[in-house]
Symmetry: C2
Subunit: 509 residues, 2 copies
């Protein structure tokens, strides 16, 4: 329209405020003159560097002619106090028309999708626009082409790791308590077989433990890109936290808003997982979809639909994939919470046995990964993986990984500290355990303090199908805080997550 | 779920940051201990006062044990530096389930709708949730009941003005340049007839002038509630700005996000208008829907649908209503921009004549208001209103209103300063004006600086249907800034907003 706005120059102050986005504090008079108001986005430039930042106005924090940049913004622009920066209002974002199209269900081209994701990553959009992009998917599903454009755009707007060999990976969509430790067994088996598996994973967001939280009990997980590449070269297996690696950074922005709105568009979940994997250069991937009551996917038919989505997208994106539907109707293994799960995984590797829901699952997934390599015949993966597990090679490999990641490879399960405040619930009668409620177990473990208190969580003494006698322990709660334990115990009584056949549920009134 | 979080006490600092919402800066360590992160909402309490505020974390702006409150937040809590406040994380907002229901198209009850609006006004929700509420309306239209619940909730969560007599009002949905001055004639006519018409209106948001901007050229419009009640009692008519009166405050929050997303759900527009009117205790209301090319509503059929929505809602809410569809296919009167429009309205009142698109419209609307009183027979309103206008009583009343609002009642049109930099476009040939483009006229007036530069705008020397000779002036642009005028002139050449029959539009190449 010919409205070329000019950049004005300002003296820089730095203010240590963390808003999870670039921030500039401007004097109200300067803002008015520039034609911007609080919450607007401006382009800030310093030499060759530029950043989009959100405006907050003030009458006194900055005098006219001075702007205060948040530490993060100043560092993105490589400026120090006293330097000059240019500030310029921005018009409608380039991708705004594409966003409007998406909202009305019109299919986007690859470049339109790319422009939206680029603007999201650049911080041009606020929460409202990001919410609009995500919510549009609830009403107008992305086409398969649009979804692949989305994944590609999410990868291209972030960092990408490059390895010298073919990269393998395994990823569980999660949602079942106790699942975070599975990778601590799968990854060493695969790496011990000679395949490269530099796994990055997230910390728990809404669950009591993520794989990164659990691995962190034993070693560092906040590895840099260089460290990951180096460790992968040396020991083939990595169990790192992906959070600070700038892999598909749009995903973190999306996940934050999805959580706020408590929405989880299926396609966005697929995009989230595949984009992180592509950013790690993964070419062969096994996806685990736990299915069962209280899991993220409750019905096999829905899991099959989701699996189809993964398979078609992987095809469009050039990733060889296998999807496993595993049983997720009760917790995996017998523990929930970072330290307890790290203990359980380590014990299983050392003793070469353990809860079947853990061991069998870890071996099965490792076997599938190995079959993708072509070195193992289809249908033979599980056997080969079990051999590596039982021979102790998996434990040897895990020790190498722990050491490479700066942990102590000689750590024994009992060396791992767990919550000092405990409470054990015993069975009120003899009978069979008929139900363990995933959701309730997660809530109780979180009430104990997991994942932030790594020592917090729960241990299950019985699983569905076990027979128990009156007075046998059913579950033990661990916490480092007496008051959190108390809250968790109240919740345990309220939710009754473990049902023994014939148990009295309530007396009324 | 039994997670009762406790309030922690902090020492107060005050920081002058304006974020259009409550803000608290917490030391990162305090935030972690409290279990909150940047962007979370916390409840801040001080004695009997409490406020929800958004958290920004910092390592240095506040030391542990100290929080910095924005000036607005401190004033809401009546605290000063050194006072103590309690800070407590909040769980899921009470209305979150209702919001989720709305997103999936399930009808809301009155109390569910109220709870959402209450949480919006309390600042518990961020942009993402507010966007979700608005966007849901694009995909799942509100039912008529839900819409009436929405209007009631918007009124109940704000201030309400009470008058001793029946309150009348007239409101245009706008969208046509030059329309802001109509009320400067309608309101005095109605008030001169003895009816109470305390009109509040908004400043321009996306247009070159709102009624409040134009009236402000002649008198104060930032009146307090007490002043409005007092002036209404004294002179019957008021032309005030409603922005700071806390009338249906949810509306301002919604409008801000709608503008960002460039969405304008029809029902939300109806809710916006009716809630502001109900907060002013309006019982009899005339709604003006300008219809025509470049207006907000382009087709009569759509205007009729919108009118039906207004009529049914007014019925549900106990407001007696008339809706007028007026011609909005070209600008109203001959001027666009606050000072130019104030001049035009004042001139019309003094000289008792003027552009018919202005005079006839103002009289027609005033007549409809008067018919609602029952004192004037149906069909007679226009005649009675014209008599008041022509007799000079309307001008006398306008002078009283100007004086009551602190302006100079003796101001003459030529006393009103207009932009010193001007440019006049003349007709390149003899012929009839066949088209004036509303959208282009608005853009050009805004490029001149309107509404912020009150003296900026455009004057039309010819309207559609006028015959012009070669060299006759078509339009004059006014601005206080030479560079803005230059931009506007470029835009004028580019957009060609006035077409004279037979005019050459372009030569190519």
């Amino acid at each position: 329209m010919g409205f070329e706005s000019k950049s004005k120059l300002f003296n820089v102050k730095i203010i240590d405020l963390d808003l999870h986005r670039n921030l500039i504090i401007m004097n109200s008079d300067d803002a008015e003159e520039l034609g911007v108001v609080t919450n607007n986005i401006v382009l800030v430039t310093a030499g060759d560097y530029s950043a989009y930042a959100m405006v907050i106005t003030s009458k006194t924090v900055t005098q006219p002619g001075v702007v205060a940049l948040s530490t993060q913004t100043a560092s993105a622009l490589r400026v120090s106090e006293g330097d000059m920066v240019g500030v310029k209002p921005i018009g409608l974002p380039t991708s705004f028309n594409a966003l409007k199209k998406r909202m009305s269900g019109v299919k986007l081209s690859e470049s339109e999708m790319k422009s939206i994701i680029q603007d999201v990553v650049n911080g041009i959009y606020g929460e409202a626009e990001i919410a609009a992009f995500l919510i549009s998917q609830l009403y107008h599903e992305l086409s398969e082409e649009e979804l692949s454009y989305l994944v590609k755009a999410m990868v291209e707007t972030g960092s990408k790791l490059v390895f010298e060999e073919t990269v393998y990976d395994v990823h569980s969509i999660g949602g079942v308590p106790g699942n975070s430790k599975v990778a601590l067994i799968t990854v060493p088996i695969v790496a011990a077989s000679g395949l490269l598996i530099p796994k990055t994973s997230s910390r728990a967001i809404t669950s009591p433990a993520g794989t990164a939280d659990t691995m962190e009990v034993l070693a560092r997980v906040d590895l840099t890109i260089d460290e990951i590449v180096e460790i992968a070269r040396k020991v083939k297996g990595v169990l790192a936290w992906g959070g600070k690696l700038n892999l598909a950074p749009a995903d973190d922005i999306f996940v934050n808003i999805e959580r706020r709105l408590s929405i989880d568009p299926e396609q966005q979940m697929v995009a989230s997982i595949l984009s992180k994997k592509l950013a790690m250069s993964v070419e062969r991937l096994v996806i685990d979809i736990p299915v069962g009551r209280g899991a993220k996917v409750e019905k096999v038919s829905l899991a099959e639909k989701l699996a189809g989505l993964f398979i078609r997208q992987a095809g469009l994106l050039g990733v060889t994939i296998r999807v496993a539907l595993t049983y997720g109707g009760q917790p995996i293994g017998t523990s929930v919470g970072p330290a307890l799960e790290a203990r359980e995984a380590l014990e299983a590797l050392i003793e070469r046995k353990g809860s079947r829901s853990l061991i069998d699952k870890a071996i099965l997934l490792a076997g599938l990964v190995m079959e993708l390599s072509g070195r193992v015949q289809p249908g033979q993966g599980e056997e080969v993986a079990r051999e590596i597990f039982v021979s102790g090679k998996a434990y040897e490999k895990f020790k190498q990984i722990i050491e490479a990641q700066g942990g102590n490879p000689e750590t024994k399960p009992s060396d791992i500290p767990i919550g000092s405040h405990t409470y054990t619930l015993t069975s009120p009668l003899e009978g069979a355990v008929t139900h363990i409620d995933n959701t309730a177990i997660s809530l109780i473990a979180k009430a104990c303090g997991a994942p932030y208190d790594k020592r917090a969580g729960v241990k299950l003494h019985a699983k569905v199908g076990y027979r128990v006698n009156k007075g046998d322990p059913l579950i033990t709660l661990y916490s480092d805080s007496a008051s959190r334990l108390e809250t968790a115990v109240r919740l345990l009584r309220d939710l009754q997550p473990i049902i023994v056949e014939g148990m009295l549920l309530r007396t009324l009134p």
